[in-house]
Symmetry: C2
Subunit: 141 residues, 2 copies
């Protein structure tokens, strides 16, 4: 797996704390400790998923497309990990073998339940929750 989910969540949480002020990719990149281009690429994906909007030009930058309490970690996962399955199947087991012939179908059905459980849990946390947790953690020290 890659760290795109973690970075994307970081970005959105950051935008939430900006409270309506557009954040440039450079500003966000400095919080994440990475390259502005990488941030822009992720922001582009998040925008396509309808989670953020961006304004070009002076004073521009990225904004949450809707309130943080209506963006869940599941939304982030779907936006950013679109076509990467958690537990990929292996391809083309031996169709001559009774096990090889059926294993992927059986496995897929069980893994689909696993994914559902995971998604339900992801959906329980919003970007607003994240921002609040971060702010609490900052007060605690």
């Amino acid at each position: 797996m890659n760290t795109r989910f973690a970075v994307a969540t970081h970005i959105l949480t950051f935008l939430q704390t900006q409270d309506g002020r557009p954040a440039t990719s450079e500003l966000v990149a400095s919080s994440v400790s990475t390259n502005p281009t990488l941030i822009r690429r992720l922001l582009s994906q998040l925008a396509k998923a309808g989670l953020t909007t961006s304004q070009m030009g002076t004073g521009g930058g990225a904004l949450l497309a809707r309130p943080g309490n209506r963006i869940t970690l599941l939304d982030v996962h779907r936006a950013v990990d679109e076509d990467s399955t958690i537990f990929p199947l292996h391809q083309e087991p031996n169709p001559q073998c009774p096990v090889g012939r059926q294993i992927n179908g059986v496995l897929r059905s069980h893994l689909s339940d696993v994914e559902k459980a995971m998604e339900a849990e992801l959906a329980r946390t919003t970007i607003a929750d994240m921002a609040q947790d971060v702010s609490k953690a900052n007060l605690a020290r």
Copy 2:
């Protein structure tokens, strides 16, 4: 993620259907459609986790170390995906930034819940279940 979990589950399900007869890595490899070495490496990991045993020499091969109804997909996951997290964090966000400073701790705590949900679901399916599902699927056609 990689396909080790899928292949390992395939191996164990295959062993379950062998019903006590040792299976050589070559036999298993032919069911999975891959290389015996790859199977042996996975079997080695499964053996270390206490899920299988192996016998060298003529008539040897791999066996389940305990009944298939006492081996869950969670056991398999733990045995083969040991040190690969589903959602890795990104390293060293900016400690000068209020968000960067806390994001990984907050994220880790939520992701830990996600992982727990996933593991609970994985634990609900045993290798015996898998073998039975496979055999049912074979009858159905």
